[in-house]
Symmetry: D2
Subunit: 341 residues, 4 copies
Amino acid sequence: MDIIVLKPGATEEELKRIVKKLEHRGLKANISKGTERTIVGVIGDTSKITEEEENAIRLMPGVEDVMRILKPYKLASRDFKSEDTTIDVMGQTIGGKKIQVIAGPCAVENKTMLMGIAEKVKDAGATFIRGGAFKPRTSPYSFQGLGEEGLKYLADVREKTGLPVVTELMDPRDIEVILKYADIIQIGARNMQNFRLLLEVGACNKPILLKRGLSATIKEWLMAAEYIMSKGNQNVILCERGIRTFETATRNTLDLSAVPVLKQLTHLPVIVDPSHAVGKLAYVAPMAKAAVAAGADGLLIEVHTNPEEALSDGEQSLKPDEFKKLMKELKPIAAAVGREI
Amino acid sequence: MDIIVLKPGATEEELKRIVKKLEHRGLKANISKGTERTIVGVIGDTSKITEEEENAIRLMPGVEDVMRILKPYKLASRDFKSEDTTIDVMGQTIGGKKIQVIAGPCAVENKTMLMGIAEKVKDAGATFIRGGAFKPRTSPYSFQGLGEEGLKYLADVREKTGLPVVTELMDPRDIEVILKYADIIQIGARNMQNFRLLLEVGACNKPILLKRGLSATIKEWLMAAEYIMSKGNQNVILCERGIRTFETATRNTLDLSAVPVLKQLTHLPVIVDPSHAVGKLAYVAPMAKAAVAAGADGLLIEVHTNPEEALSDGEQSLKPDEFKKLMKELKPIAAAVGREI
Amino acid sequence: MDIIVLKPGATEEELKRIVKKLEHRGLKANISKGTERTIVGVIGDTSKITEEEENAIRLMPGVEDVMRILKPYKLASRDFKSEDTTIDVMGQTIGGKKIQVIAGPCAVENKTMLMGIAEKVKDAGATFIRGGAFKPRTSPYSFQGLGEEGLKYLADVREKTGLPVVTELMDPRDIEVILKYADIIQIGARNMQNFRLLLEVGACNKPILLKRGLSATIKEWLMAAEYIMSKGNQNVILCERGIRTFETATRNTLDLSAVPVLKQLTHLPVIVDPSHAVGKLAYVAPMAKAAVAAGADGLLIEVHTNPEEALSDGEQSLKPDEFKKLMKELKPIAAAVGREI
Amino acid sequence: MDIIVLKPGATEEELKRIVKKLEHRGLKANISKGTERTIVGVIGDTSKITEEEENAIRLMPGVEDVMRILKPYKLASRDFKSEDTTIDVMGQTIGGKKIQVIAGPCAVENKTMLMGIAEKVKDAGATFIRGGAFKPRTSPYSFQGLGEEGLKYLADVREKTGLPVVTELMDPRDIEVILKYADIIQIGARNMQNFRLLLEVGACNKPILLKRGLSATIKEWLMAAEYIMSKGNQNVILCERGIRTFETATRNTLDLSAVPVLKQLTHLPVIVDPSHAVGKLAYVAPMAKAAVAAGADGLLIEVHTNPEEALSDGEQSLKPDEFKKLMKELKPIAAAVGREI
C-alpha cells in the first residue's frame, strides 16, 4: 500500500494523470480530499512497484510526496515469516534457547597462540572460535592477516577442539578458499553494503554473520540481509557492533536497543559484539552483560592470551581468565531472561 | 490530513472503533483496503488534532502507525505566508536584496576594544555590531561576560557608529535589561529549546535571531520559531551555526544545505554563522563565501583586534583587515546570486 | 600538564617566546626535539591555566596545537574523589547497593490519576515518584503542565505513600516553588547546558538529577555537573536518556556504554531512563534490564494507568501491571551484578 | 613524535620499563614530571612505530594514554608534498585553475539517452561524462546496471564528444573491463573502506575518484587515499558527497567545510557532488554554487533528460536546460574565487 500526497494547489488534471498511471499498472486509486491536502491511497499489490516507478510518481506534477507503508525488505521480515529462524552449525543452534558465544583473537597470528586461546575459551564455555585471516585495516601499513595459512590454523583448531570456525570474507575472489575452512562466514561492518560480496555469499550454503555498518540504519541492515537471502541463503545472523556518533569516549556507540527492535522486525537471530563497539577492555564485560539482558541470541568477544602483543585490537581483548570470569557472571543473567549460556 | 495505518491482522471491530473515534471529533474516515494493509485517511480539519489525541489513536488496538501530512508548525510555514518576511532594523532590511553582515567580538571585553572593532567593521561594510554581555560557557571557570556593563558599551557603539546591536539573552530574568540595549535579541544554540525563554521573547517587540541547536533538525528549529511567533512576535531570523556530527576536524559541521531547505519551507530570513561552526580561522572565509553562494540573507562573523588575547573563541576570530578583505571578496559572489553586500 | 606541539618549521625565536610566556605564568618548559616535530611539556600547576590563556598560546606564531592532559572538570572527577558518592533522600540511598527506581507519569495530569499510579508503582517496588508540573514541549500548542497545582499533587502523594518526589525545573524563576515541593530536582536534557539554571541549582541544597543533553558528549555532561558542583551542591545524579544519531527506529539511541565509562571517570551515581530514549513501549523492558546489567545505580521509568489518554509521551509508558512484571524480572539481574532492587 | 601520559600513581619501576621499551626500538625518552601527571616525550623517528607497537605501549602498566602527534597518512599529506597535485586527463587538468565539471546520468540506461545527455552537457560546458554501468543499489530488487554494455556506450560517447569517461568500479573482478573503458575510476562512498578494492586501483595507472564514506572522518578518508597511493598510484581525486547525520530534510549533510580542511591537510584535488548529498533537485544548484565558492576543484552533477523515467536517483537529477542555466550562473562565482569554469 502506497500513499501519494498531492501539493496544496494540485489540479484535477494532475490528479487524473496520477490515477491513470496507477491504473496502467493494474492498481486502483482511493482519493481522500482533506481541507488542506488531497491524498491518494494506492490499492492492489504494490509490492511489485519498483523503486524506479515510485521515483517516477514522486516527480509527477502535483505530487508532494510518496509514502511507502510496506517495508522494502520481505524475506527478512517477520511479516513474511513469523517464527524465529534457528541455524544449526555442527550441533550448536543459533537463535534458540542457548546463547552462543563466539570467542577468539581479532586476527590469527600464529598456530600456537590460536590453539592456546581456543582451548581456554572452550573450557570457559565458548561455543565457536573466531579469528581473522584477512584483516580490513584502516592503515595500509598495518598487519593485513596471514591469509590461507591463518584459515588452516583455524581448521586445525576445529579438528582438535570441535569448535566451529567463524571468519571474515573481504573479497569475492577469496570465497572459495573461505568456503573450504569456515563454518560461518562473517561480512564485516565496512562491507555491509558491498553488494557484490552480499550476492556472492547469498549463493553459498554456509551461514552468514552480517555485521551492521558503522552508519547503517536498521532498515538498511535488513536490506543487506535481504540481498543475501534473495540469492537463496536464508541463514543470516545479524551482529550489532556499534554505530558512529559524536561520542568519543568509546570507539563507537553500541546500539543495544537494536536488539529488541530487530526482534520485532525480523525472524533472524541477533548477536552482539561488545569488543569492537567500545574499544576498551574495561567496558567489554558490562556491555556483554547488558547485551544478554537485552535479549541477544549470542555474543562475539575478543580474547587474546597476550593483548599487549596483539597485532590487532589488543586494547579491547579480554585475557582468557577475564573471559572465564565473564562467562560465569553471564549465567545468572541469561537465566533471568529465560536463556542458557 | 492524517493517515492511520492498520496492523496486518486488524479486525473489523478495531476499525469501527477508530472510525467512531474520528467521527466523535467531527472528522470522517476514508478507508482503503490494500492486499497487505488497510489505511484510513482522515478527512476534515485535522490541524486541531493535538499531539495528545494523535498519540491516543496510535495506541488504539489494531493501529500500526499514524502519519501526519501537515507540518507541525504553521505561522513559520511558507504554506501559511508565501512571500518572504523582511525585517527592518534602524533602516537596514534583513531578508531583502542586501545581505546583512553582523560582525564583532564573541564577548564584549572592554569599551576601547569594542569601539575599535566596531569602527573597523563598519568601515569594511558590516551593518550590525555583535558582542556577548552574558556568555554561555561550557566551563564554570571561564569568563562569563561583563553583564549590563557590556550592554552599555554596545549602546555607546551604536550611538557613535549607528550600527544596531545584536546580543544574546540567556536567562528570562535578564529580558528587561536586554530590551533596554539590544536591537536584535539572539537566542543561542544551547537555548533553542529553552521553551520558557522562547515564550518570553515571543512576547517582546524586538526581532529575534534564533540559532539552530547543535543537534536540532530543521523541523525542530522551525517549531522553536513557531513558539516565538505563537506569542505574537513574527520577526524571527534563523541562524545556521553548525550541527554536531562525528567529524572532529571542524568544531561542528556547517549545514549549508539548510539554507535552500529553509527557503522552501519558511518565509523567515536565514543567516549563517561560519565562525562558530568551523571553529578555526582558516575555514571562516571559504565558508562565508559558500554561505552567500547558497543564498543566505546574512552572515554573522566574529572579528577581534587581538584574537590571541580574546577572552572567548579567539581561535575563530578574523582580524579587522582579514574581515575587510573577506567583505571585498564577497561582493562579486553576492552579485552572482543577484544580491548586494 | 599541557603539551604544546610546534609547527614543522617553527623558529628558535618562536620557541623562546613560548617558553617566556610560560615562565611569566610561573611554569617551566620541557623541550623535546623530535625528527619531525618539537614539543614543549609544561611543568607546574597547569590547572590554573584558563581556557582563555590556552587559546592565546594556541594562536602564538609557531604553535601547531595545544593538548590538555588533565580533564577540564575537577570536582566531578574520580581523580579528585575516588570513592563513590552516595546520596540519601528520605532514607533511600542513591549510588549504594540498592538500585533505586523512579517511576510515574511523564506529566502530572490530575490528582486521582497520580495517586493511583503512585500506589501501584510503590506496591511494585518503586522508591521514588516522578511527574512533570512544568513540561518542556516541542510544540507551543501542546499541554504545558499544571504548574504549582501539579507540584501540590506530588506532595500529597509523598505524604500518603512516603515516596520522595522527583520533578523538573525549567526556569530559574520557578526555583522557589520547586524547592517547596521537590525532593530531587530534575534538569532536563534540553537544559543540560542552560548554564544559568545550573548555577541556580548549584546553590540549593537538594540533590539534582542531571539528564544528558541530546547531543552532549560525556565530557560536556560532566562539565555541566561541574557547574552545579562549583556552586557547592555536590549531590548530582547523572541520568543517561539517549543521544541523537541517524537511527530512526528508536526516538534516540540509548548509550548504555556511558554507564561503565562514567563509573570510571566520576564518583557520581548514574541512572538510566529507557522510556524517553526508545520512545516505544515494547523496547522499554529489555533496555531497563540491560541498564541494570550494565551497572546502573537506578532507573527512571514512565508509568501511566491509561497510556492512550496520556497528555504526554503515552507511547512509551508502561501500565502498572507491566511495570510490576518488569520489577520482578529485574530482581535476578540485579542480583547477578551484586545489587538489590 | 609520540607522547606517553602516565597514570597518576605510576611507579618509577613502570616508568623504567617504558623507557627501556623505547630504547629497545632505538628511541629516546624525554620525561616531564608535572604536579598531576608525568609525561614521556618520545624522541627519534617514530613514524616507524606501527599501530601494533603503539597499542602495546598503551597497554603497559602505568600508562594512561598514548598520543600521536604525526598524522597516520604520509603520501597524501601536505607535509610530504606541499604543492597542489594536478591530474591531466585527455587535456583537462584537475586541480588547476579550471573547475572541472563531471556530468551525466546516475546509471547508463541506453545508448541514445546517454548520447543525448552527453551532447547537451558538453554544450553547456561539462568537461567529463559520468554514468554507472555497475550500480550499488540498496535493494536487490532494483536496477543493477547494464554492465559491460553500459561501458561500451560510455566509450562511444567519448569517441563522439571527446569527453573523458568517469565510471564506478565496485568489484575487484571487474577491474580489467573497467580499465578498458574508463578514463577515471570512481570508488563509491560505500566502498571507501573496501581495502582490497583500494589496493587494486592503487596498482593501476588511471586516476581514481575517491568518494567519502557516509560516516567517514576526513582522517579516515585520507587514510583510504593513502591505501591507493601506497601501491604507487598518486592520482587520487577526493569527492565530498555528504555525510550521515540526524537531519532528514536532505538525504545526507553536504560537509562543505571539508573543502578548506582538505586544502590544508592534503595536496590532492577536491571535488564536490551536491546531487547525491542533498537528494532533491531544488537544492542541487545552490549547493553547487556554494561548493565553488568554498574552493572546490570540480563538481560532479547528475543530469538526465527525463528524470521521471530515470532508473536510478531521478529525484536529484537536473534536466539539461537546468544544468545549462547552472553552468552559466557558476561562471561569476568561479571568477570571484579566482577560478574558471
